[in-house]
Symmetry: C2
Subunit: 153 residues, 2 copies
DNA sequence: ATATTGTTGACTAGCTTAGTCGGTTATTAG
DNA sequence: CTAATAACCGACTAAGCTAGTCAACAATAT
């Protein structure tokens, strides 16, 4: 389980796609200037995102990348997982085999994973918009932080 | 902000110290066999933990490492921070300067940091012990997961 | 004294990150 | 049709990080 700059690139790029989804496909060149990453490196990342079915690429002029599913049905855990194999949930039987302190770590790890899996792209964006509105209105912040709502159930 | 294997080593080692704190100082050799990491690598990590005042080393026979503060006053964020500079909270003015998708990322990052900063070593251990008791008694699991209690405020 | 354990520093193989380069399709605007 | 656009694809690479080794030295309990 790693939360690296690579993962950050993947997530910020996906946020970009979600934000601009009304304007049609987003080109890697656009993301490249916005986030100052090289197009070639983005190509590597998007190859993996595409392989996992998170985005679709459209070639030719006017082409670019789109989210394959609606933003509300894509969570942060699967984005990280797409670009980094080490991001995963450990199943209980495997955890039980390990020495005590590693077992504790595994559970912590799974909890992080669940935490991220509960956050959809639309949550992240929605939270951001809410925050902008709130700062203009000078309202108090929500208890659990900006942009993240834990499911009711 | 990174959550790497290095950070995992640091946290699991600190958990080990907390678990065995009644038996006096814990040697790196002990942790080494428990977690199958080399003593020399542990030395590097503990040098940083010591520099940040999280542990104290005691030399000579019967020596080893102890937590410098009680487990309830050490949180996961500062452990990670000790061994990895990139783990930190971004201050608001700096965040405001960045492009939109990065700004969203920064907030997510800070939220994650706060999440980790809310979890103390004793929380982690307590949760683990609770879990063992609970599994023996066959009680339902708590809503928010094992080992983590969000502060009342 | 001597064994034990921490402390410090130099060094390293291998992996990951964050790219570059050069090309090949597919698609569309003109 | 053709030229431009942009996604695809694979090989390569410099720099940095991870996870270690090794050697020497310092403090301390017995």
């Amino acid at each position: 389980m790693k939360l690296s700059t690579k993962g950050r690139y993947a997530i910020t790029a996906m946020i970009e796609l979600a934000l601009r989804h009304k304007q049609g496909p987003v080109t890697l060149a656009d993301i490249s200037v916005e986030q100052s990453i090289s197009v070639s490196y983005l190509e590597q990342l998007f190859a993996q995102l595409r392989k996992k079915g998170l985005v679709t690429g459209m070639r030719g002029p006017g082409g670019g990348y789109c989210l394959r599913r609606p933003a509300s049905e894509i969570n942060l855990a699967e984005i990280l997982q797409a670009v980094d194999e080490s991001v995963r949930r450990m199943n209980e039987p495997a955890v039980a085999e390990r020495p005590k302190s590693l077992r504790i770590w595994d559970k912590l790890n799974n909890q992080f994973f669940d935490y991220l899996a509960d956050i959809s792209l639309s949550d992240v964006i929605k939270g951001h918009q809410d925050e902008e509105v709130r700062s203009r209105l000078d309202l108090p912040k929500p208890t659990f932080g900006v942009g993240i709502q834990r499911p009711a159930a």
